[in-house]
Symmetry: C2
Subunit: 212 residues, 2 copies
């Protein structure tokens, strides 16, 4: 907003950029309400009437931004996924194992704070292709975060191997938030063992050693 | 049915068992139609009108057996899950590694033959508790199949570790049927490496060795 204000001469109307910015802010506000609601209920149980009431807007205005309930749910899950991803940015000055552990701890922090958002990101796509695409994008972004210090441009097989580890972390985390079968540090140790095994495996695969 | 026919004296009416059997057969027929439809579309895109038409029954009769669309979808996914599980029964005369490989091959056979049923089992629960319960039951049954020759009664930590491997297999299999990033034998080798690492880990955990 500051940039637009600087660019316009005093008093000159800047209707198009101003309007676009307002629209963006309104859209962000509506998505934020969804993220807030996602703290207490899963994405498929968010009722649009409550969003409208909280935002103090008309039914029609919500549908202007999000023509269908699914569009709204998609935008909320997309934003939740982006927040999860932003929280995973590793400290690249650390050793690879410590980067992996740091990422895992940040991942579990997010899940503990936003269990329903996490479940929505990982398990609410069903057969919805747009929602599946969100899930695919975030998982591929996590693959890149993990691969970067080892193999900056992972091939299809390495991507598959890393996605397998992410799948393992996801399954364990979902089970863990449902049932808490062990202390969090035990969960971290379990996933770290599998993760370090993966790092060793990547080394092997990258050196071109044949599969057994 | 043969048993009922033997047990009844000739000509005597056996209305209750016969009726119950008919109801079960009708229910099974309706579920079979769902399994057939699941070959070409995901569970949430199965239209009840088509089920009614294929079965040649009335709307009311379908709703007699399945009061809601969700009840019907649940029954279809439950049956698909039971079929997947039945296909995994290992040959217990083999070495543990070979049992694991056999189970993995059978798992991938099922997925290759029923990709949409597999996606429905693993990813269609959303926040539906009854559907989640189906998924939990099948995963725990697979945990038992894997654990039996190693640790017949796995504790919470071993169950978590094995579920982690199942999550890894699931993620890799779903990615693989979507994109086919490598030959199937490479996928099997990748998952076998992680699986054998898990078997070694179970040995360590069971011997009471402390986690690092």
């Amino acid at each position: 907003m500051a940039r637009n204000e600087r660019a316009s001469s005093p008093g000159a109307p800047v209707p198009v950029p101003r309007q676009r910015l307002d629209a963006e802010a309104r859209r962000a506000q509506l998505v934020d309400i969804g993220l807030e609601l996602l703290r207490t209920r899963p994405i498929d149980q968010i009722v649009l009437d409550e969003v409208i009431e909280r935002a103090g807007i008309s039914n029609g205005l919500l549908f202007h931004y999000f023509p269908t309930k699914r569009d709204y749910q998609l935008a909320v899950v997309e934003t939740a996924a982006a927040e999860l991803l932003a929280s995973l940015e590793p400290d690249r000055t650390l050793a690879i194992g410590d980067q992996l552990r740091g990422g895992l701890e940040a991942y579990l922090d997010y899940i503990e704070e936003h269990p329903l958002a996490y479940r929505s990101i990982t398990r609410s796509a069903g057969s919805d292709e747009a929602m599946l695409a969100v899930v695919e994008r975030i998982k591929d972004a996590i693959v890149e975060l993990i691969a970067e210090p080892i193999v900056p441009e992972p091939d299809a097989l390495l991507r598959l191997a890393i996605r397998g580890w992410i799948g393992s972390a996801e399954e364990c985390a979902l089970l863990w938030i449902r049932e808490r079968p062990c202390d969090r540090e035990v969960l971290v140790d379990l996933l770290m063992r599998a993760g370090l095994h993966l790092v060793a495996l990547i080394g092997e695969l990258t050196s071109g050693a044949p599969l057994p």
